[in-house]
Subunit: 339 residues, 2 copies
Amino acid sequence: MTPTIKDIAKAAGVSFTTVSRALNGYNDVNEETRKKIVRIANELGYSPNIAARSLISKKTKTLGLLLSGITRSSIKDNIAFEILCGMNDRAGELDYDLVLFNTTSQKQKMKSYKSLCMERGVDGVIIMGIRLDDPYLQEIVQSSIPCVLIDIPINEKNVGSVSTDNVSGSYTAIEHLIRKGHKNIGMINGHAQAYVSVKRLEGYRLALEENNLVFREEYVADGSFAESGGFENAIKLLSKHPEITAIFCASDLMAIGAMQGLKSMGKTVPDDVSIIGFDNIGLSSYCTPSLTTMNQNKYDMGYRSAQMLIDMLEGRHVHPHISLHAELVERNSVRPISN
Amino acid sequence: MTPTIKDIAKAAGVSFTTVSRALNGYNDVNEETRKKIVRIANELGYSPNIAARSLISKKTKTLGLLLSGITRSSIKDNIAFEILCGMNDRAGELDYDLVLFNTTSQKQKMKSYKSLCMERGVDGVIIMGIRLDDPYLQEIVQSSIPCVLIDIPINEKNVGSVSTDNVSGSYTAIEHLIRKGHKNIGMINGHAQAYVSVKRLEGYRLALEENNLVFREEYVADGSFAESGGFENAIKLLSKHPEITAIFCASDLMAIGAMQGLKSMGKTVPDDVSIIGFDNIGLSSYCTPSLTTMNQNKYDMGYRSAQMLIDMLEGRHVHPHISLHAELVERNSVRPISN
DNA sequence: CCCAGTATCCGAAACGTTTTCGGAATCGCT
DNA sequence: AGCGATTCCGAAAACGTTTCGGATACTGGG
């Protein structure tokens, strides 16, 4: 059996109360006895029972991670993984552990996020990949559990958010295309239930209008962030509107799909039509042509979100909404056109 | 405050013992009272305190995940992520949660894996990405904590393993090259402290010898699973041994590096030299030329490892070593040669 | 020599469950 | 009516820790 505080007490000839205090660095225990206790604890290979501890302290030093999008389909664009790496690193540095809640299994259909968190006893939770219309979003946000949302800014007590500046990001993407001489610019967006999509659309529209180009409803299509969505919508867009010379895709995966779609209809990128993506996933520098895109600092998003949540938990003041800058990375899927 | 079993008892007019039994499905409680109790529990939004429960039951229903390789560098080849997805799915189905231990932070330098696991109170642990010479490998394996290792078969009580059949995998890779007419086949391996590397080398050698080709020490180099390692060693190999017409790389990432290396020295793949990889990562179908490789069923590795660990924990009999089949996926990085 | 103050320690309660043991009530049967 | 079996429920212990409120012994000043 693994040794407890009582075993140490017995071996040291003191009460187990004293052992507890000695190990926790209280000052009302003699330096001699403390050393003795610590020595014995090491000899016995003692490590505190976290269940007992958190039963009384009400803290578990664990962060919950709710990722709705962690499924086989999210493997190609491993954005979730990069974010997770950042989160894991920061949490580890601050001595917290991460527990994964998988919301895909059917058990979650029955159980609310909130009771899931309470049961697991996590101190706080980070949520990513959730849709705006997810019924649980409201629930979790209004519960008293501290949480930070990736990519959904919500003003509520105990909830923070981190995302990239999507409107400025897509603004610079479009501006880049315009500088290269493009005038008829299509967009393949995600879907209306993603906050990033509405923001990226906003930036697209803004950039157009500020450059005296007209925004056309029919130039934008929803590809639901899927490679196949990019494929199909690129074809649709260019069939209906052959005057389009450039497409801005709200994700790299859709951009890659779009490139394939264009290829399938005999058009070449970037000679016939330019493509610019968003995310800068690993694939984008390896596909042909390599993809010009807006880089999102995914690792940092994770890192900062863990930091923010822990700050909230430990009572430090936080600015509840962090917005990271997205910068252009130029590759070979955009070419200038003369007009 | 979140309601406890006692609050329910008070509201239902029974003892809290009865509440506990009612909620846990014991048969010695009247069906009427049970319904009443369940109703009240729902009304109050009760969910059991897991710390208290696991304090007495000694089980936490959580699996620890020790991944030594989860760092920024492992983002490109997101093998770890795919495995994690499979693990997470199966664990979720069986009502276990996953907690991530990050062994990169310095706190682990002080603390042994074993005490880390004990402290966290995980029931068992899955370990991946660990090197054979990691001093903690022995420690964890000899501790009484049930664990399953990814890619390291060890015969010890309470430890299982899952990996792909690496010798057969690399055997078929080499055989494929031989069938295509290649005779001088180089290999870029990982490093000696990876079990998979010794096995893949074994398969390479075996395939050569069984086809009456001689195994040459100087035809194999270690690229330590890095893209840069593939780049440099491909150049080295072909500079010293220009007769080589095909290279087998022990990972796709190295294969991609090798392709770039060859390109940098003016050789083209597959016309001048054929490349075959191992892993079938997401990138490999998008690079140019697309990579012929041996597919590892990464998702399944995770899925099966979670399954095995939970089987062990729940006292079911398991076959301690699972070996998954690797199949060839043909793309465009190898071409037949006539001789 | 006494008293206040300090250093060091201990006992007991508390956290929210599960589980064991036993008691009371009810039932069926003779 | 008597008796064993069955059904339902409660009291209490246990899990390993933290923390509160003292208790003891020693110190030095008066």
